[in-house]
């Protein structure tokens, strides 16, 4: 990965497995200033812990559908399958994600930037 340049406005949070991603992580990121969240995990069948990503897939699918149902813009929260060997693809996905989030503009929903209601 080190040989490739990836966009600077990404904050990477490493987890041992995509199944470690608690939905709270995603929602709190959105609440505390992230304009978009991308969750990337190993391809189904390639999990280091054999089935972690398969469990995670169900969780992520439901969360994504749920947030979009409530009215959060499509694209604020994205998921991708990605192998640890695919540095090039990572850059590509990162760029695509940023591009799509940029199109949406700065996040307004769920963001916590002031104390009191107007």
């Amino acid at each position: 990965m080190s040989r490739f340049q990836y966009p600077p406005n990404i904050e990477i949070v490493r987890v041992p497995c995509v199944s470690r991603v608690n939905p709270l992580f995603i929602l709190r990121s959105l609440q505390h200033g992230a304009d978009g969240v991308l969750v990337a995990g190993c391809y189904p069948g390639e999990c280091n812990y054999s089935t972690g990503n398969l469990y995670a897939r169900r969780k992520l699918l439901m969360l994504k559908s749920y947030l979009e149902y409530l009215g959060l813009e499509k694209g604020r929260f994205q998921c991708a399958w990605l192998s640890s060997a695919e540095a090039e693809r990572f850059v590509k996905i990162a760029k695509a994600t940023i591009e799509s989030v940029r199109k949406l503009g700065p996040a307004k929903k769920l963001v916590r930037n002031k104390f009191n209601r107007d």
Binding site: R28, L54, M62, L67, G71, E73, R112
Partner: protein
């Protein structure tokens, strides 16, 4: 109704006499019109107070985690359970709160629970001081006011779309047969909401939750919410702000609590009925059940030997919405 009540008392009395169960959880008459309330029977002579009517709105499975001390001692608990209560009990069994043989399910085929709040609003701004029900009608009286209402117009939102009115698992089934609802009708509220624009949906959602006073009645009335430490009470790490004047904390509370019920909610509507600020929580949680069915063809609380939907996987699960190369 009387017949059902008689039967309940007979079964309950016998269970207690034979010492098959330590306790029976059922309903008794409440102190207000339109209200029945949970009751706990330990002696055979007390079964007379057990009642059954369409005002029995609570999901009695919520009490099972409170009686861990009984369950740990290997004792059994009897529950008078309608369709949704049974499914919550199944969930408890799936999640190892209790063993199947420790819960004696007295199943009641349910014709739907009446929406007390909606009936009360018929009298708004006045109040209902007397209510009775017979066949398909409800008679309500108030100060200088009397009305006969049709039951089918005042069923709870969740009961209208209920898919399992008849208990799916039981040890004794109280007589009576009910017709299940048509599958097509089950998503009324959801479909209508989905047809709106995202920003409109977000606005409605925000308006609803902005009334939240964080009394956590929804959480405590929910049979699936039995975590020892709820994420809202957690201080290390503190997941959520504690105030009510920050809109996003209220949104987050509702999103996360309901998402915690993904594939675990049986759509009993207890949270809705418990909410003192009339927040439409069903609108949120019902979507999760619809999704569980759509994405994984799963319904909560049907089979005691099955695992909850997020505790299992299939290699063929959809990759809907995952990044794809163009």
């Amino acid at each position: 109704m009387e017949k059902i009540e008689e039967k309940i008392r007979e079964i309950a009395g016998k269970l207690l006499k034979d010492k098959k169960v330590k306790l029976i959880i059922g309903f008794e008459k409440g102190t207000l019109p339109l209200k029945a309330r949970p009751t706990f029977v330990r002696k055979p002579e007390e079964v007379e107070k057990l009642i059954w009517n369409p005002f029995c709105e609570n999901n009695l499975a919520v009490y099972i985690p409170f009686y861990r001390r009984y369950l740990d001692n290997g004792e059994s608990i009897g529950v008078i359970a309608k369709g949704c209560d049974v499914r919550s009990l199944v969930l408890h069994i799936q999640e190892n709160i209790a063993k199947r043989e420790q819960i004696f399910i007295i199943g009641i085929p349910c014709e739907g629970i009446l929406d007390r709040k909606r009936i009360e609003k018929e009298a708004f701004p006045g109040e209902i001081t007397e209510a009775s029900e017979k066949d398909d009608k409800i008679l309500v009286k108030g100060n200088g006011f009397e009305k006969t209402l049709k039951k089918k117009d005042f069923l709870c939102e969740d009961c209208i779309v209920c898919s399992h009115r008849k208990p799916v698992v039981y040890d004794e089934l109280v007589e009576g047969d009910v017709k299940e609802t048509e599958a097509a009708d089950r998503q009324n509220q959801i479909k209508e909401f989905e047809s709106k624009e995202p920003d409109e949906r977000w606005k409605i959602f925000t308006e609803e939750v902005s009334r939240c006073i964080r009394c956590y009645a929804c959480r405590n009335a929910c049979p699936a919410c039995y975590c020892k430490e709820c994420f809202v009470d957690c201080s290390k790490p503190q997941w959520l702000g504690t105030t009510v004047d920050s809109e996003t904390d209220l949104q987050l509370f509702q999103i996360i609590r309901t998402f915690h019920l993904a594939g675990r909610c049986v759509n009993c509507g207890s949270c809705n009925r418990a909410c003192p600020m009339d927040i439409n929580i069903s609108l949120l949680v019902n979507k999760l059940s619809v999704d569980a069915k759509r994405l994984f063809n799963y319904e909560t609380g049907i089979d005691v030997n099955e695992k909850p939907v997020l505790n299992k996987y299939s290699e063929d699960d959809s990759n809907e919405g995952f990044f794809e190369e163009h």
